[in-house]
């Protein structure tokens, strides 16, 4: 009896500590974002005395000629395009990889693993992008994001395709479906669950990416949200409420993805990890 009580006590304590450690930073972000400038400068946990939420919001969005809006548009284009390309490219490649074992598949598997482990060589990549005229352009950055996410997406797809029976391919072949038609009309629609997982995990990763835009897309006119946040850090060094309003705005898309698709994201990330 006493041990049960002690156990419950210990668990409650563990829960409280864990909740505090993880919730305090987020509540701090939110609280600071809605304070006025003077009170936000205290950087403490006090309850806001006034609530200039709308004013902070407008000020952050209109700062530097609506740079944040431009950045949001850029980040959206970047995320949507690179994830769309990634889904098509990775699923096609993974399909042949899983269905056609042999020497070629062996090499491809090795390349997939290399893509997971090898840190990208940044300056030579800039050199290549400059050579093909895509350095400092959104299309260039899109290709970079696709290239760096291929391995992970192919792992997820390959595992899923292994569970689709070959009899299905054969049935489709009898109906005269081969190659492109077989893949896009029969197989691809069946992969919806894993496609959703790939879309969610890579969207979050691309949207949150900071390093690649920093190297491959410098400059304000093409800024992504992470870059603007990074630059706002020096600009708003006294207006903490605006800085944190910016952080809150940038955290909203992943938060929405998390609220609606929590299970899918967790499933994708653990599957990728364990098979990787």
């Amino acid at each position: 009896m006493r041990t049960t009580v002690r156990r419950i006590g210990a668990e409650t304590l563990a829960l409280a500590v864990a909740a505090a450690v993880f919730l305090v930073p987020f509540s701090f972000m939110l609280l600071t974002a809605v304070k006025d400038e003077k009170q936000a400068a205290d950087l403490d946990f006090a309850w806001p005395t006034s609530w200039p939420v709308v004013r902070n919001l407008v000020e952050v969005i209109s700062a530097r000629d609506y740079l944040l809006l431009t950045a949001y548009v850029n980040s959206t284009i970047l995320t949507v395009t690179s994830v769309a390309l990634l889904v098509v490219f990775a699923s096609m490649a993974a399909f042949v990889l899983q269905r056609r074992p042999g020497r070629v598949a062996g090499v491809v598997n090795l390349l997939v693993l290399s893509g997971l482990i090898i840190p990208p060589a940044v300056v030579p990549t800039i050199w290549v992008l400059q050579g093909i005229g895509l350095f400092k352009t959104l299309p260039g950055l899109i290709l970079v994001e696709v290239a760096y996410s291929l391995s992970f997406a192919m792992l997820l797809y390959r595992a899923f395709i292994a569970a689709i029976p070959r009899e299905l391919d054969e049935a489709a072949m009898i109906d005269g479906c081969t190659g492109m038609a077989l893949f896009f009309r029969v197989i691809f629609p069946l992969m919806r669950p894993v496609t959703i997982t790939v879309i969610l995990t890579t969207s979050v990763a691309v949207f949150n990416d900071f390093v690649n835009p920093l190297y491959f897309l410098p400059g304000d006119e093409n800024a992504t949200v992470q870059l603007t946040l990074y630059n706002f850090q020096s600009q708003y060094s006294t207006q903490w409420n605006l800085l944190f309003m910016d952080i809150v705005l940038i955290t909203i898309p992943p938060l929405l993805a998390f609220v609606f698709f929590n299970r899918k994201i967790v499933a994708g990330m653990t599957a990728g990890a364990i098979k990787g």
Partner: protein, 307 residues
């Protein structure tokens, strides 16, 4: 295309179509590799291979002059670059070690019969999805000396906290701790998946033998969640060796160069226009990652068989 193949068993003669099985070439064409292959080759493979050449040159992006191993000599001759190399290893070891320990503990806690279990799982996992820049900025504010919330909280219990990010002895470790805060959620869900896949029978067997909670943990959960430990170590080690965003947003390698890691040095050299040196840094990072991760994979694989 369709050669005279044997009729398939599933062929339906009344359909009137060719009851033949096309070759793999037509059904699973290698052309499907092309889009992915081209992007991967141009954007990833070519730069990776070229890095080995450019690392040996003095390079301006437009022309390069071969200088042999000078860049590597410079890299290890300068003290700050050596410190960066050491810091990278320390960072990777500390973050992956803590993620294993805390991820396992949280995994065990969050698979037990707790109220609020689902809520806590979400709370622990959410930071994984938040941008690193946002986390970095928030924690640099929380870790400010004296006025920051962390030091204030420590002050309440009578400890005067250090200047976490401004002090050479604590800067790197503080960033590593924030990395653990952000990343432990992924380790936790990997452990949860691992622990959930342990057959219940083992726990029942321990119960029949009269073993307690510690026994359950030590002789069932710990050894049987080995695949999860393996994934967490590999993942966080690779991530730790490559780390850049968090260091860059929190300390920029400072104070001085005491919290520089290889990736931040690469960026600094790139900004300063030393492209050859930056690329040499990349090659060193590449060699370090393969030299550490490949044997690690081998070692952990072997343990899996024995345990």
């Amino acid at each position: 295309m369709v050669t005279s193949a044997q009729p398939r068993r599933a062929a339906a003669p009344e359909s009137g179509r060719r009851p033949a099985r096309p070759r793999a070439r037509a059904v699973y064409p290698y052309a499907f590799y092309l889009p992915a292959g081209i992007v991967y080759t141009v954007i990833f493979l070519v730069p990776t291979v070229m890095a080995f050449y450019f690392a040996l040159t003095r390079w301006t992006l437009f022309d390069s002059e071969f200088v042999g191993l000078d860049n590597f000599r410079d890299f290890f001759a300068e003290q700050n670059l050596r410190v960066g190399f050491r810091n990278t290893i320390v960072y990777a070891v500390v973050t992956s070690g803590l993620k294993v320990v805390l991820g396992l503990l949280l995994g065990v806690l969050l698979t037990s019969n707790l109220r609020l279990r689902g809520f806590l799982r979400s709370v622990v996992f959410f930071p994984v999805l938040v941008s690193t820049v946002a986390v970095g900025i928030t924690f640099s504010v929380l870790l400010k000396p004296d006025t920051g919330l962390v030091d204030k909280a420590l002050g309440v219990v009578g400890i005067s906290g250090p200047d976490w990010l401004g002090d050479a002895t604590t800067a790197l470790l503080s960033v590593a701790l924030v990395d653990v805060w952000k990343g432990v959620g992924l380790a936790t869900v990997i452990y949860i998946a691992g622990i959930m896949s342990i057959p219940r029978d083992y726990y029942q067997a321990v119960e029949v033998d009269g073993g307690g909670a510690w026994h359950r943990f030590r002789h069932v959960t710990l050894p049987l969640s080995w695949p999860a430990t393996y994934s967490v170590i590999i993942l966080s080690f690779i991530g730790g060796l490559r780390t850049f965003d968090l260091i860059w947003t929190m300390t920029r390698g400072g104070p001085g160069f005491t919290s520089d890691v290889i990736a931040s040095i690469i960026y600094k050299q790139y900004q300063a226009g030393f492209y050859g040196l930056a690329t040499a840094g990349n090659v060193i990072l590449f060699l370090a990652v393969t030299a550490i991760v490949v044997p690690l994979v081998r070692l952990l694989d072997r343990r899996e068989i024995h345990s």
